[in-house]
Subunit: 367 residues, 3 copies
C-alpha cells in the first residue's frame, strides 16, 4: 500500500451523516442564501456572506460540482445557482456527498425536505432523530398528565427513530443541576408552562425530565454542544458542564455534536466515559480551509471508536455535500501527515477512516 | 499570478496599526528593556527577558534592521541598541513597519511619544483613541455633576479622536451585569468614588456608565480582551462574558483587542454580531515564531471583513515594527498554505490581505 | 551546524523526568494494560484500549524496542509483552528513555516500583516528590495536634525529597478561597476529619493548610493541572483559577503539571510569575501523533527557562520510555520548523532543548 491508497480510500469511502437537517424545499433570494452561510448571527448580515471560510469553501468545492470554475466569483456562483431549483440542486449535491444514510433531526420548523424526500433526492436512506424539546411541546399541547403524554409521544415517535436530540444548549445551557426531577416537580412545572402557553420550553425541570426520559429510552442521545447561533450563551455550552450528568447517565450513548471551540474537552469526555461519542459536524463546514486543524484536534483524546462524521447540513444543499468534501480533505491531510511521519501505518489510517466514516455510526445507531 | 505575487503583495502592503501606544521618549537601562518584552509579569523579571518567543523574534527580525546579523546574541543586540537614542531607534523602526496610520491609545501615563511625535517619527499619520477610564478619572476631578462632566470631556476629546477604548478587563473583568445604570446610581457611585479620592476607577456602576456613553457616542469602542498583565483575572476576560452587553450594543462598532487565548471565541462573536470586530495585536508579538498558528485561528469563524491589524506596540520602538514584520510573515504562511492547497485562490488571498491590512480599518475608523 | 545537528542533539540529550511514578512490579492481564492506556476513564473500558493515539504510539515506538516491527498489531504486541516480566520490561524500557534522574511522586498507593527500585531498574538516579495529601492523611492518623504532626512529617519526609505535590485538582479543584487558614480553623477541621475517619482528604481548610505549609517549606511545589481521570471536574482545574494563590505564593517555585487543555493558560502564568513553571507530561503520551501540536503550544508564552520535561509514566514501563520518545520527536518537529523557517537559529534551538531536557529541572530541584 502506498499513500495513494489512503487518498483513494478517503475519496471513495461511503459516509453515514449522523446529524443533518433537511435541505430547502422552495426557492429563495440571495439574502436567504448568504445568511445561511453564517451560523452565529441571528440578524440579517451586513456585508457579503461569501466573505468567510464557509463562503470561500462553497466557491472552491461546490462551484465545480455545478460545472463552474473553482473559486468562481460570488456573483457568478449566485447567478448560476439561482437558475436552478432547490430540487435540482439537491439532486446534484446530495448524491455527490457519498452518503449512504442521513440521520435527520426533524425538530426545526422550516420549509425543508422531509425524511422521505431526503432519501429520494439523495438516493440514500433517511432515519429520524427526535428532538426532545419538540416532544415536550407536543406533550404540552396534549390534554391530561404531562409526563404520561411525553412518554407516550416519545415512545411512539422513537419507535421508528434511531435516536433523540437535546438543544438544552439553547435553553439555558449546561450549568446547574441536571438530575432527574420528581413526578411532583414535573407536574407542577408542566402546569406552570401550560398556563404560560406551552411554547418554547425553557423550564429547567421539564428540560431535565426530557433528558432522563431519553436516557431511559436507551437510544443514542445527541446534544448540541458549542457553536450555534448567538441565542445560546456559548460559555454555558462547554461540555465539561455536563460532567455530573454524564457520571449518572448509565449506558445510553451520548453524542456531543459540533463542539467548537470545545472539541478538545469533548474528546476528553469521549475518553472518560464508555458511553460518550464526539462529532465535529457544522464546525467543519464553518471552518473551510481551517477544517484540518479542527479535525486534528478531534483526534487527540477521543478513542477512535468514539468519533463520528456529520455535516449538520441545513438549508442549502451545498452544505450537505460540503461537509463531506471538507471532511474528506481534512482527514486526508491529518492522517496523511501521521502516515508520512511514520507515526501511524497507512493500514491503521484506513481503518480509522472507516471507523469515523461509517463503522462507528453503524454500530451506534444500528443502521 | 503566481504565489510570488502573494508574497510580494504581503511584503509591500501598507498597514493601518489600529491599536498602538507611544514609543519610549527617553533612554533606559537593560532591565527596562527586558521587562518590556514580558507582558504578563508586573515584577522585575528574573532571568533573561530575551529567553522567550518575543526575545528571539527581536533578535531575528529587529537585529537586521539595525545592521546586525539575524539571530544576533542578546548582549550584542543590547550593546548596539544602547548606543542609539530612543529617537534614533524610532526613526529607524517606525518607518520600517510600513504603517500609514497609527491609532494611538493615549491612556497610559508613561514617558512615551505623543500623537504628533509618533506621526513625525514615523512619517505617517497618528489618530487618537480615548480611554474611557481616563475620561472617568478626569470627570472625577471636575467639580459638579459627574455624568455631565464625563459627557462634556468625552465629547470634547472624542471630537478629534477616531474611537474609544475600555480596560474593563483590568477593572474586575467582564463577568456580571453590564447594563446601563440609572442617573441616580451614577450620581451615588460618583460621590462615593470622589470621596475615596477618585483614582483608579474600579466601581462597576461607573465603568458600566462609561461603556454605555461610548455606545451612544457611536465611534468604534475597543475592548482589551485576554492577554495582559497579571493584574487582570485572565479567565474573567473571556469575551463570551460580553455576550449580554453585545446583544444590546446596537450599531456602535465593538473591537476586541489581543484576544489570546480566546481568539476562537472572539472570532465567533465577530460572526455573531454585525458590529463586532477582532484584532490580534500584542499576541502576534508575544508569540513570535508561533504567530502563524494564532493568526490562522483568527481566520476561523470571523468574517474577513471583521478582522483588523495592530501591533499594540508600547515602549521599545522594536515592537511597533515587529508587530508588522511578524504579521506579514504569519499571514503569508497561513494564506500561502491555503493557496498551495488550492483551498483559496491567490486572488482571494490578496484581497483578504488588503482587508485586514487596511481596508477594514479604513472603513471602520474613517482614516 | 546543519539541521542534522539539532536532530542528533535531540536524539542524544539526557533528560530529567521531573514527574513520574513507579512502573508496575507484578504481572497483570490485558485488561489492566489496556486500562492503563486510558487516563480519563475510571471504569473498565469497553473496546480496545489500543484504539487511541496512545495505543497507536505504543505500537509505533515501543514495539521496535521489544524487537517487534513498527506498528505491530495489538494482539502480537500484547502476546510478546505478556511473555516478559514487568522487571524485564522495565530493564528494557527505562534505560531506553535516556533519563538521568527520575523525580518520583510516591503518593499513589499501588503495586509499583519504589524509588530505589526505579534507580536500579533504569540505571539512573531517583528522587522523591512528597504528596501533600498523603502527608495530611499520615497526620490524621498521628495522635496529638494535627498541624504539629503535619509539620513534623513534612519536615522529616521532605528532608530527603526534592519537592512536594498537590492533587487539589482531584479534591474539589481550584475554585474558591485558597488563602492560609488560621490555626483555630485547622484544629477544628482536623478534628472533624479525624472523627470522620481521616481518609481521602477533601476538607478545603486542610487542603489550603497543606499548600501553605509547602510554600513555607520552599521546595518546588507541583500541582496536578488539567487532564486526569474523570473524578476531577476538568473545568475546575483551569490553572487561571490559581491566580490569587499565585499572587501570594512568594518565591517558592510552583510547577504546573500536564496542563491539557489549559497549556496556553499555563504558559501565560509562567510568564506572569517569576516562580511559576510548566510541564506537559502525561499529555504528550496521551496525544501520541498529535504531541507536536501540544508541545508547540507550550512554547508560546512561557519563557524558555520555565518549561520542564516529564513523562508522568505510571504502571507500564512503556510509558516511561514513550514520554521521552514522543517528546524528542515533538520538540524536533517544532524547533526544526522554527529553524527551517529561519525564525530561530539552530544554535538557539539546541540551547532551548537543553533547557527543557535538563537544565531548567537541574537548577530548580538541585539534582
Amino acid at each position: 500500500m502506498t499513500s495513494d491508497a489512503l487518498a483513494q480510500h478517503i475519496g471513495e469511502v461511503t459516509l453515514i451523516d449522523q446529524h443533518v437537517h433537511g435541505c430547502w424545499s422552495a426557492a429563495g433570494d440571495l439574502r436567504r442564501f448568504e445568511n445561511a452561510l453564517n451560523e452565529a448571527n441571528t440578524e440579517p448580515i451586513v456585508g457579503s456572506g461569501f466573505d468567510s471560510q464557509l463562503g470561500f469553501a462553497v466557491r472552491a468545492h461546490c462551484g465545480p460540482v455545478l460545472g463552474l470554475p473553482k473559486h468562481v466569483d460570488p456573483q457568478s456562483y449566485w447567478e448560476h445557482r439561482s437558475r436552478l431549483s432547490e430540487t435540482e440542486l439537491a439532486r446534484t449535491f446530495l448524491p455527490a456527498a457519498g452518503v449512504s444514510d442521513w440521520l435527520v433531526d426533524t425538530g426545526i420548523a422550516a420549509d425543508t425536505a422531509s425524511l422521505a424526500r431526503m432519501a429520494e433526492l439523495s438516493g440514500g436512506r433517511a432515519h429520524e432523530v427526535v428532538r426532545l424539546e419538540e416532544v415536550a411541546e407536543q406533550a404540552a399541547r396534549t390534554p391530561g398528565d404531562y409526563a404520561a403524554a411525553f412518554d407516550d409521544i416519545l415512545q411512539r415517535r422513537a419507535a421508528s427513530a434511531v435516536g433523540t436530540k437535546s438543544i438544552l444548549a439553547y435553553r439555558g445551557g449546561f450549568e446547574g443541576d441536571l438530575s432527574e426531577p420528581s413526578a411532583g416537580q414535573v407536574a407542577e412545572a408542566a402546569g406552570r408552562w401550560r398556563d404560560d402557553g406551552g411554547i418554547r420550553l425553557r423550564d429547567r425541570v421539564l428540560l431535565r425530565f426530557g433528558l432522563h426520559r431519553a436516557l431511559r429510552l436507551g437510544k443514542p442521545l445527541q446534544f448540541h454542544v458549542g457553536l450555534g447561533d448567538r441565542d445560546c450563551d456559548l460559555h454555558k455550552t462547554n461540555p465539561l458542564l455536563l460532567l455530573d450528568f454524564l457520571r449518572r447517565s448509565g449506558d445510553t450513548p451520548i453524542v456531543l455534536l459540533h463542539c467548537y471551540p470545545y472539541e478538545r474537552e469533548a474528546g476528553y469526555l469521549a475518553q472518560a466515559f464508555n458511553n460518550v461519542y464526539v462529532d465535529g459536524g457544522l464546525s467543519v463546514n464553518q471552518l473551510g480551509a481551517r477544517a484540518p486543524a479542527f479535525v486534528a484536534r478531534l483526534l487527540e483524546l477521543a478513542p477512535f471508536g468514539k468519533i463520528l462524521y456529520s455535516s449538520d447540513g441545513f438549508g442549502p444543499a451545498e452544505l450537505h455535500f460540503l461537509g463531506a468534501a471538507l471532511w474528506r480533505k481534512a482527514i486526508h491531510r491529518v492522517l496523511g501527515d501521521f502516515v508520512a511521519d511514520d507515526d501511524w501505518s497507512e493500514r491503521d489510517a484506513i481503518r480509522v477512516v472507516d471507523l469515523i466514516a461509517h463503522d462507528n455510526a453503524a454500530g451506534l445507531y444500528g443502521v
